[in-house]
């Protein structure tokens, strides 16, 4: 699902996990936790202004700064790629972890500020110059 504001798009993912929110939160906010699913090495200090850095595959390194840390339900951090591919601070990831049952968490991830407004806007009227292929690429 996406929502569009000028020049940026938000990507949203929702996943249900058979685990307590605190377990999921730990996986986002400790180096060991981050290395269990996201990266090969990680640094994180989960408090506002603290760094979060995740080397995803030895080549792509996500660098950001914690914006909000409210254990075990909310984590927001800026997201960029080291080396300037996507400027650090340019986008923001917002993770919400809700308990929706006994030991069941719903994790909602929103990635804001992605520079892709056109992906949607073209569907609403850009086709006059981009053609069918554009609609295909947006799916």
């Amino acid at each position: 699902m996406t929502a569009t504001t000028p020049m940026t798009t938000t990507i949203e993912h929702v996943v249900h996990i058979d685990a307590m929110p605190s377990t999921v939160y730990e996986l986002w906010t400790t180096p060991e936790g981050l290395c269990a699913w996201w990266g090969v090495t990680a640094t994180v200090d989960p408090r506002p202004g603290g760094p979060i850095r995740v080397d995803i595959d030895g080549e792509h390194v996500m660098v950001g700064e914690i914006v909000e840390a409210d254990p075990p339900h909310r984590l927001r951090f800026t997201f960029g790629w080291e080396g300037g591919e996507l400027a650090p601070g340019a986008t923001e990831v917002d993770v919400t972890i809700d308990a929706v049952g006994v030991d069941i968490s719903r994790v909602t991830l929103r990635h804001h500020g992605l520079p892709v407004e056109f992906v949607e806007s073209h569907v609403r009227g850009w086709t006059h110059f981009v053609g069918e292929r554009l609609a295909e690429a947006a799916r």
């Binding site: 996990i17 377990t23 996201w38 992605l114 056109f118 292929r133 690429a137």
Partner: protein
């Protein structure tokens, strides 16, 4: 060589490579270039008109920004007399969102596995 005639060199949204994504992201990581893109989003504009829209930036600098956008496939250019006319190539942006979307899809599956493994008392 007139770089503006190399309009065929553009990123392909369907067969995007990592290089194409890198070029796109780098091109977008600059406020002037994003401003230029907005100006040519709906309307084709000449290089001169675009330079006038950024009075604080020298014409050579604006030209350089336009070259970066063009190299990334974000704008297309055509000659019109002695002017160069620019407009956005919106389809070039699709790979960035797709790359990020796929990354999260993949990683959140791993997050789920890791959390459920921990909760079931497996070795961490």
């Amino acid at each position: 060589m007139n770089a503006t005639t190399a309009a065929a060199h553009v990123a392909d949204p369907v067969d995007a490579t990592d290089d194409a994504i890198d070029a796109l992201a780098a091109a977008l990581a600059d406020p002037t270039r994003r401003g230029l893109l907005r100006l040519v989003r709906h309307d084709e504009r000449s290089a001169g008109a675009l330079a006038e829209a950024f009075p604080g930036i020298s014409r050579p600098a604006v030209s350089q920004h336009l070259r970066v956008l063009h190299h990334a496939g974000l704008v297309e250019v055509r000659p019109d007399g002695n002017r160069r006319m620019y407009r956005a190539r919106v389809q070039a942006l699709a790979p960035v969102s797709r790359f990020i979307d796929e990354m999260w899809d993949d990683r959140l599956r791993r997050l789920k596995r890791a959390a459920e493994h921990l909760e079931n008392g497996g070795p961490s």
